[in-house]
């Protein structure tokens, strides 16, 4: 089945140790998003790629970076994770066309920072 896949599902890292989260999609969607979701909160958009164009949210910390080497894959790099970065990280994809755009979410990666 076509879907949004995230690896790993659970990631444990140490304070300050870089970590990379992975997202892949078989939907051939042109937009890929990264969200941060903390417990009992709504997802918060970090950034997205519209094709190869990177769009960063104004309040996303510099500690968070992203790469999209091809249509199918997108990575979230956290350069120096702090305790406050522990959260669920959600990847979503969409096929943006005109004024319609539906996002489909992956299962998320739960990040623990020790």
């Amino acid at each position: 089945d076509a879907m949004v896949i995230q690896n790993p599902r659970y990631q444990v890292t140490q304070f300050g140790k870089p970590v990379t989260l992975s997202c892949s999609q078989t939907l051939n969607h042109n937009v890929m998003y990264w969200y941060q979701q903390k417990s009992s909160q709504a997802p918060k958009l970090l950034f997205h790629y519209y094709d190869k164009d990177f769009n960063n949210e104004a309040d996303t910390p510099d500690n968070f970076q992203s790469r999209r080497p091809n249509t199918s894959f997108c990575f979230l790099d956290i350069r120096s994770p702090g305790l406050g970065d522990a959260a669920m990280y959600l990847c979503a994809t969409s096929r943006r066309s005109g004024t319609t755009d539906t996002q489909y979410f992956g299962p998320g990666t739960r990040l623990t920072v020790l």
């Binding site: 009992s40 709504a42 997802p43 997205h48 959600l90 996002q103």
Partner: protein
């Protein structure tokens, strides 16, 4: 900036009761409206969406939502809930012409007692 508000943070009800979750947004331009559901331990799933046309939209699992443009509202309803509807429900609005981003409401946790 656009915002989305959900009226209730927590709702507790018994099986067979009717459910209505309120959602209001603040943006006067073109919008796509969504309800997502997050079952315990699972990823965000699309429940239903509204782009245009009939303001009463039907989604999966017996849910429906009504778009009232004059009230900037998109309320979710289900006539008779089941225990399996226990989940967190997020209203989300995609605004075009204002960054084209998906903004989530704060979520409503629904607990259905058997």
């Amino acid at each position: 900036a656009q915002s989305v508000s959900q009226h209730n943070h927590h709702v507790i009800l018994s099986e067979a009761a009717s459910l209505e979750l309120g959602c209001n947004y603040s943006y006067g331009g073109t919008v796509n409206l969504f309800w997502y559901v997050q079952y315990p331990g699972q990823h965000l799933q699309l429940l239903l969406k509204y782009f245009s046309g009939d303001p009463l939209v039907k989604g999966i699992k017996g849910f429906e939502a009504e778009f009232i443009k004059s009230k900037f509202s998109f309320n979710l309803r289900k006539p008779s809930v089941q225990w399996s509807d226990t989940a967190e429900y997020f209203c989300a609005v995609n605004t075009f012409g204002a960054g084209n981003k998906l903004t989530f409401g704060g979520g409503t946790r629904v607990l259905v007692k058997p």
